[in-house]
Amino acid sequence: MIKSKKQKFGNLIIQVALIILAVYMFLPIYLTVVMSVKPTEELFVFPPKLYTLRPTLSNFTSMLESARQNRVPFSRYLFNTVAVTFSVTLCQCVFVSMGAFVLAKCEFYGKKLVNALIITALLYQSNVIYIMQYMVMSKVGIINTPLALILPSIASPIGFFLMKQSIAQIPDSMIESAKIDGAGLFRICWQIVMPNQKPALMTLIIFAFQASWNIQGGSLIFDEQLKTLPSVILQISSSGLARAGEAMASAVFLLIPPVVVFTLAQRQIMDTMVHSGIK
């Protein structure tokens, strides 16, 4: 009897901890959304309120208004971001799928080295190598061109790794029988393996989409013509508390596309992440 009380207490502690964590995770998102639809006069009421009774879209319209004050039309930024996102995602899917297939299912000289490089590269992503990447890009001469935004994001080690782990689950016999039927590796990859890898492909698309949608360009792009939506919108959000409503509206605005894509593909992502284990 005493024992079971102790266990009940243990379970209770876990549950309380989980609820606190969940609130901590959820509250800021909730506040962002609420503040994005609060009318301006309610934003600075003391004490702050957790809800609004008169939701408005005025923050969104004034955000678009501020973005319009730039010399370049808003649609141009949107186009840049969509173009970058699309090219990165497409190239990543094609290149990563082919490479991951070869690495997972073929034997060749140097395979171990490539494998080790990619596992190690999981460590050295994003901002650590940003400065070095800049030097490489300036040597190659693509600074201040759209290529500077696209090319570095194509070869994603995470995407490659997940794809490889997922393809490794396919039985070898399937590939062997296709080889006996005379299919080349390229055809096996696209006609036999990839149709079975829709979940992994969706995962790849999500990660690529998310990463490239948020590309700001920072020091890589000087021309206003070539700047992306996040770089412009985040200028608004960092311009002080007085424009808090607009800042929240811009955060929500930028968040919508990734959230939609993630929601649509969640099942597939989970099916792929099962194989994310490092072996």
């Binding site: 243990g10 901590y24 070869v102 190659v140 194509i154 080690p157 990859c189 985040l234 099962v274």
Partner: protein, 294 residues
């Protein structure tokens, strides 16, 4: 069979791997490899690099006081956020795994949102130093504080604030891997174990969950280490750059300072090299823990 024949025989493999490897080499391998030699030079992006031997490292470790501070900050920051964020990923993934479908998917999305985009703005308002700051007004309301605290500029609090926000955005790929891992555990294992006499959540965790999920746990571990050690934009966006008294100045922020602000690329490379080495050692360590008993 000699090497040439071996390569010729698998030509199609190499061709299919080539496009990825090209971009991978140019934009990931080359930058990392370059940081070592450039770390030995004085290089400002305009003139040709000048070889200076170990000068950068000597300055870095012997006379750069800010760097010494940043090492301390990074260690505190990483040693708090990496394990805590890992435990958080684990607990939340665990919580979610026990729920029914629609609720489970909604919660996964909510927990994942912070890592999706740049959402620091709300934290700046929560921690804002005047009475309008949400945290200040809440704490004054319940009588915990008498006057507002400058969360974002007071040197006593900036690192803590950065840690709280870093934890909030840290449920990324590692979290997804773990929650997928939980879903993949065979449910009949639990039933059998409960029939055999297992009777608490703790036992469930120790005897079923952890043994089943080692591979995903290793992946998540590496993800959390990377994001903790390379945290930089959180700090700069939230508590300013440079932060008060350099109290939240991480190694990465230091590299940012020399790389982007002062364009001393040689020195920045040396800083990055140090960071690479530290991260590599840490990942080996994680590999030891989770990878050995396979």
């Amino acid at each position: 069979m000699n090497l040439k024949e071996k390569i010729k025989r698998n030509m199609d493999c190499y061709l299919m791997l080539a496009p990825f490897m090209l971009f991978f080499t140019v934009f990931t391998v080359l930058p990392v490899a370059m940081s070592l030699p450039i770390g030995f030079t004085d290089f400002n992006m305009v003139q040709t690099p000048k070889f200076v031997g170990l000068d950068n490292y000597i300055t870095l470790f012997l006379s750069d006081k800010v760097f010494m501070k940043s090492i301390r900050t990074t260690i505190i920051f990483a040693f708090v956020t990496a394990p805590l964020s890992y435990v958080m990923c684990f607990l939340l993934a665990w919580l979610i795994s026990g729920l029914k479908r629609p609720l489970r998917n909604v919660l996964t999305l909510i927990f994942y949102i912070p890592s999706m985009a740049n959402l620091y703005a709300v934290w700046r308002i929560i921690f804002s130093g005047d009475m309008n700051g949400w945290l200040n007004s809440f704490l004054i309301d319940i009588g915990f504080l008498q006057s507002p605290v400058q969360w974002l500029t007071d040197s006593r609090y900036v690192l803590g604030v950065a840690i709280v926000v870093q934890l909030w955005i840290s449920l990324g790929a590692g979290f997804l891997a773990l929650s997928a891992g939980f879903r993949s555990i065979d449910k009949s294992l639990y039933e059998t174990a409960y029939i055999e006499g297992m009777n608490s959540k703790w036992q469930e965790l120790v005897y079923i969950v952890i043994p089943c999920m080692k591979p995903q746990m290793l992946f998540a571990g590496i993800m959390q280490i990377v994001s903790s050690f390379t945290a930089d934009s959180v700090v700069r966006e939230l508590v300013g750059f440079p932060s008060t008294d350099y109290k939240a100045h991480t190694i990465m922020t230091h590299a940012f300072d020399y790389g982007w602000v002062r364009f001393e690329m040689g020195y920045a490379s040396a800083i990055c090299t140090v960071l690479f080495v530290v991260m590599f050692v840490c990942s080996r360590f994680v590999n030891r823990i989770f990878g050995s008993e396979r």
